[in-house]
Symmetry: C2
DNA sequence: GGAATAGTGTCTCTCAGACACTATGAC
DNA sequence: GTCATAGTGTCTGAGAGACACTATTCC
């Protein structure tokens, strides 16, 4: 039918159809002042130059080994974030109308990281995840889907632990779950679940305190077992 | 950096990078003789001409409105399947090495349909889902991931009902769940769950029988409520 | 001692599995 | 009646929420 057209570099030879644009977008979540936020950047280039949008970029076929690699490169180049975050493919948004440049594919990822790990640069903005402005492309849809996934997965995994430093108290972990889920969770049940299933392990003898008084809390970290099979359910 | 190359039709103007090949592959599941199978086709064209592989095809940017549309077109053109099936995006497989033609993206879908709805053509093969041969590309990986999703989702949804005709007995539904999940499910609990939550509704007064004797069973169909919010949990 | 925060014991309710029971048809 | 399949009632154990209790620190 239609002819493939010559391309400059690692050139697919038997391609019969013009390929759509292929990009990767990342919804990066963090907790700032007790509220879940998504990271957005002010766009430097058209389309939608000057507007806030999710960090994203073209797949570089000579540089990236796969799309997850593109996502990590985007976070490195545009957010100066190297590691320590959770990253997972979310969904692929595609079609003729989602990008003014034409038929496009956006392989969307979502990521979770603690606030302190994000270098504060001028282009970086944090948007409250439950109170989004109108964003370009279909970025609102992407964020809403990412939020559903984040909440769904948090209900049966240790994903929210990525919002905390390496060691934390059970109370902090509980608070983070409540913030992410946006609902109250019974503290006693939470402790039982987390402790019984050996999701965390006590850090030897260490303790910790808050401003005024109060009994110091045991410090925990995710157990080796949890880290190994992170994706598995609680 | 590098230049975009002219394309014939809806031409992306500001594309800075050569796009990877964009295809859609579909893992279509069905139940034949009580065993879950995946549909494979004998490939007509290279690469891997003559081998069995998942039905798939290029995204046609002048014809398909989005990737789900591509998936439906692939099923229509290559399997002669028009509707009556469940279809959902699974995952996007991408990278430099998965396709000998070069850096490629496969937006993978999975589908579920009853055996009788599949037109029997010479190219169509059904492979037992739990006993896969070596398939080209990363199609084994796609099928394994699709199976996980199918089983995961069947545990809390009415997905397996797509393997049955419009009306069915509770016993049939139960059997189909067991086959899909590959494990025994308590029949009494199953009835309670299915009935209490109004997932099905009795088809007025109708009954049904099997070969020899036995009490006839009530016929059911999925309730309007279930069909409306199909994705929701049981 | 009191205030503040950390952590536990116990009751109750729900729900799923187990399994013995009853129901309705063909013969 | 028997056989075969359909469908129900009831017990039990696991787990989550509710919430009152105890523990350990600072002052």
């Amino acid at each position: 039918m239609r002819q493939g057209k010559p391309s400059k570099r690692p050139s697919p030879e038997t391609v019969d159809y013009p390929s759509p644009i292929a990009t990767v977008d990342v919804a990066l979540f963090t907790l700032r002042e007790g509220t879940l936020h998504v990271l957005a950047l002010r766009r430097a280039a058209p389309p939608f130059a000057g507007e806030l949008a999710l960090p994203g970029g073209y797949v570089h076929i000579d540089e990236d080994v796969d799309a997850a690699d593109t996502a990590r490169r985007v976070l490195r180049e545009k957010v100066a974030l190297d590691d320590g975050y959770f990253l997972e493919q979310l969904f692929t948004f595609s079609g003729r109308v989602r990008d003014p440049r034409g038929w496009s594919i956006s392989i969307a990822y979502y990521a979770v990281v603690r606030f302190e790990a994000i270098p504060q640069q001028s282009a970086v903005h944090l948007i409250p995840a439950d109170d989004l402005p109108d964003l370009p492309f279909d970025h609102n849809r992407i964020i809403i889907k990412a939020l559903e996934r984040l909440r769904g997965k948090s209900a049966y995994s240790t994903l929210p632990a990525y919002l905390l430093p390496e060691t934390f108290t059970l109370r902090q972990l509980h608070g983070v779950y409540e913030r992410v889920m946006g609902e109250r969770l019974d503290l006693a049940s939470f402790r039982r679940k987390i402790e019984d299933q050996e999701i965390v392990e006590a850090v030897k003898g260490e303790m910790r305190q808050r401003p005024g008084a109060g009994r110091p809390a045991q410090l925990y970290r995710l157990s080796a077992r949890t880290l190994r099979e992170f994706d598995r359910m609680i």
